[in-house]
């Protein structure tokens, strides 16, 4: 594995397997009465969040704490510019405090790359702009692996605002690396330029795609996209691209439904689908996030090899 985790595209199939295996091993810690191991004792992890994301921050915080690392939360809401201090100065400050890893969430695509140039610490991308969210992809893959024996030929539809989705980019990279067959489903206005070069199938017709899928990954659609004219109305979006009970029934019996959260119930996903005990693995995704992030911190901060 590379020193930092910036892009899911930097991970080989071997890297991904190692993260998932390590996560499976560390998940057992969570089942114990005392949910803590001393592996990263004396190491410091900084959560540097320029955007609000309580769930991602808490997930990283729990992951680090269960490995006995010291955790500091540096939340700098808004851009570094509006705050008055530059990202570079923040980086220098954290470096001087001797942190071992920086988990960064930032509204600007590429910010973790800039940070990695300025610090010696390990940098983990916890979501940058409309670019990537590699730990989300890894926890999604972990969740899929709990249900399916292999990624080879696994059919995954990623549905919604692919254009602005960091979850979609990282998942496409990780899933194609593992040999899954990805189909992106969205209105043409919410697909990136030259998406045909991504090595995935593309469709505008959710009903045609769903029956063939093992996994339907629904993306959060943001209200501001409607205001910016990417689609005419939320109602029309829900009608064309929302996953409701009728569409769920059209899926294979073994197929699962995923969502990175937070959900817009009634828009990209109907409440009955989100709450479906047999089909929805959305709560599993959240739980698995902690194990996967434990595995990443463990591997990136150079813990001893775990044998499973």
């Amino acid at each position: 594995m590379q020193k930092h985790l910036l892009s899911a595209g930097d991970l080989t199939a071997g890297d991904i397997a190692r993260v998932l295996d390590t996560a499976a091993h560390l998940a057992k810690v969570t089942d114990r009465a005392i949910k803590k191991v001393p592996t990263l004792r004396g190491r410091t992890v900084c959560n540097l969040f320029f955007e609000d994301s309580t769930r991602t921050r808490i997930s990283f915080e729990l992951a680090a704490k269960r490995l006995s690392a010291d955790v500091i939360n540096f939340s700098a809401k808004g851009s570094s510019v509006s705050k008055g201090e530059s990202l570079k100065d923040t980086a220098i400050t954290l470096e001087a405090m001797g942190v071992d890893a920086i988990v960064i969430r930032h509204g600007a695509s590429g910010a973790p790359w800039r940070l990695a140039e300025w610090v010696q610490a390990v940098v983990v991308n916890a979501g940058d702009g409309t670019h990537e969210h590699p730990t989300q992809a890894l926890l999604d893959l972990y969740t899929m692996r709990q249900r399916f024996p292999s990624f080879d030929g696994l059919k995954v539809a990623i549905v919604g605002d692919v254009l602005h989705s960091r979850v979609a980019r990282s998942n496409v990279l990780a899933l194609t690396t593992m040999g899954a067959e990805v189909t992106l489903v969205a209105p043409p206005t919410l697909l990136p330029a030259r998406v045909e070069t991504w090595g995935v199938a593309v469709s505008y017709d959710l009903d045609a795609v769903l029956p063939k899928q093992d996994v339907a990954m629904m993306l959060r659609v943001q209200l501001e996209r409607q205001r910016a004219g990417f689609f005419p109305s939320l109602r029309e979006y829900a009608r064309l691209y929302g996953l409701d009970g009728r569409r769920l029934d059209a899926m294979a019996d073994h197929a699962i439904v995923m969502h990175p959260g937070p959900m817009n119930r009634g828009v990209e996903i109907a409440a009955e689908v989100a709450d479906s005990i047999e089909r929805s693995v959305i709560a599993d995704q959240v739980a698995n996030g902690i194990s996967v992030r434990m595995a990443l911190l463990y591997l990136l901060l150079g813990g001893p090899e775990v044998t499973t």
């Binding site: 530059s86 600007a108 695509s109 590429g110 702009g129």
Partner: protein, 434 residues
């Protein structure tokens, strides 16, 4: 009386179609004789054997940041960078603070240029007040001022409203002035961070589609045709734009156009580093665009190489990509980049390359006394360069106050040895004289 003899160089003077060994005798700031075996008695003799002697380079498009952002560049540091690049004339754009939209500012810029005395500074005035795109600035006052402005632009921003551009093109005819447009459909580039394509999609950066440039170029050409006004297109960067200009020229539209060295050298792939030193507007495009710009320069669809030299303070570029302002340095590398990227691979002959850097731009607007011909009576605005010298760009050693060159670390062929402004060395043996 000062006499200077440039002896034994290869004189490349596109304006007189001269390309061959010749001596150039300079007296009191003017060329007095061009020929072989000239008598150097009483003259300082400069051995130019193995070197190219040509008219001083002319840059139609620079940002010198004075007044307003003297921490990024000043007329003095920018002039020194220009002289080191072989330039004797530069045209600073009006997007200063305050904007050069009135006689006072353009006169101040021109006067400061004269005071520094390293290159001749021909200011560009703003087309609209404050470059806000709503009402015409006093073009006449700037044209009639001591700065004698004959080129207007809202560069950095497009002239959004077709009606306003039409009026500007018509009104400027009274002064035989040129309107230089930055072609960008702002409604298609709102929030854009880089060229729209495969790379922008992967990097999650909002895209600036080629069509946003091409449709405005097409509009501008139609308005030039409608008004008979003089249109100049700044920094043409896409294959489609080159094609539209080529077709317009073929049917006789009065238009000139420029291209920047970074647009015929670098592609959007450079953005993968997320280093904003590669952020520029219009953005770095794709391989096919680079190729089209090269061919456009080769066949004369594009008249001029213009640097769009855009210095930025270090702290302004050491930030997240989306936060950084667009723009990159160009003055000290343009000649070498042209020789390395266009002449060496055979896109342009050396003489054509020199044309696109000298008389080509000089014909786009009045920059009297520059661009050649190197003939008796002409001011001795000259550059002498070693076409074989290989050097590596080091941003720490630039004369510009800023450091944002996209060519840092790149090995280039061709280096300026001397630059003369009205017969006086501004650069001698590769060093600025002041």
């Amino acid at each position: 009386m000062s006499r200077l003899l440039l002896r034994g160089g290869r004189l490349v003077d596109p304006a007189s179609r001269h390309d061959g060994t010749a001596d150039v005798l300079v007296e009191d700031g003017r060329v007095v004789e061009v020929g072989s075996g000239l008598d150097g008695t009483g003259a300082e003799v400069v051995d130019c054997d193995g070197l190219v002697v040509c008219p001083g380079l002319v840059d139609l498009h620079v940002h010198l940041r004075e007044p307003g952002r003297e921490d990024a560049e000043t007329i003095e540091t920018g002039s020194r960078a220009a002289a080191l690049g072989g330039y004797t004339a530069v045209c600073p754009m009006p997007n200063t603070d305050p904007v050069a939209d009135n006689a006072g500012v353009v006169e101040m810029v021109a006067a400061r240029g004269r005071e520094v005395g390293l290159v001749e500074v021909f200011p560009v005035g703003a087309v609209t007040l404050g470059q806000r795109g709503s009402e015409l600035a006093e073009l006449g006052a700037m044209a009639r001022s001591a700065a004698r402005v004959d080129c207007f632009s809202d560069d950095g921003r497009p002239i959004r409203e077709a009606r306003l551009l039409r009026l500007a093109l018509e009104y400027a005819r009274a002064f035989d002035a040129v309107i230089a447009d930055h072609a960008e459909d702002a409604s298609l580039t709102d929030g854009a961070q880089m060229h729209e394509g495969e790379v922008s999609a992967m990097l999650g950066l909002a895209g600036w589609p080629a069509a946003a440039e091409e449709m405005v170029v097409a509009r501008d050409l139609l308005l030039a045709e409608l008004t008979g006004g003089r249109l100049h297109l700044c920094h043409v960067s896409t294959a489609g734009a080159v094609e539209v200009v080529r077709a317009a020229r073929a049917r006789g539209v009065r238009v000139t156009a420029e291209a920047a060295p970074h647009h015929f050298t670098l592609t959007d792939e450079a953005a993968r580093s997320y280093d904003p030193v590669f952020k520029v507007n219009p953005p770095l495009r794709e391989k096919a665009d680079v190729e089209a710009v090269r061919l456009g320069l080769a066949d004369g669809t594009l008249d001029a190489i213009a640097t769009d030299h855009a210095p930025h303070a270090r702290e302004d570029k050491e930030v997240e990509w989306a936060t950084a302002p667009p723009g990159m340095l160009g003055l000290e590398t343009a000649l070498a980049v042209t020789l390395t990227e266009l002449v060496e691979p055979g896109y342009l002959d050396l003489a054509v390359a020199v044309e696109r850097l000298t008389v080509g731009p000089a014909r786009c607007r009045r920059v009297s006394g520059h661009g050649g011909p190197v003939a008796p009576g002409a001011p001795a605005n000259l550059a002498v360069f070693d076409p074989a010298a290989v050097w590596t760009v080091d941003r720490a050693r630039l004369a510009s106050r800023a450091r944002n060159t996209p060519f840092h670390g790149r090995q280039l062929r061709g280096r300026v040895v001397h630059t003369l402004l009205r017969g006086v060395f501004t650069v001698c043996d590769g060093q600025a004289t002041r």
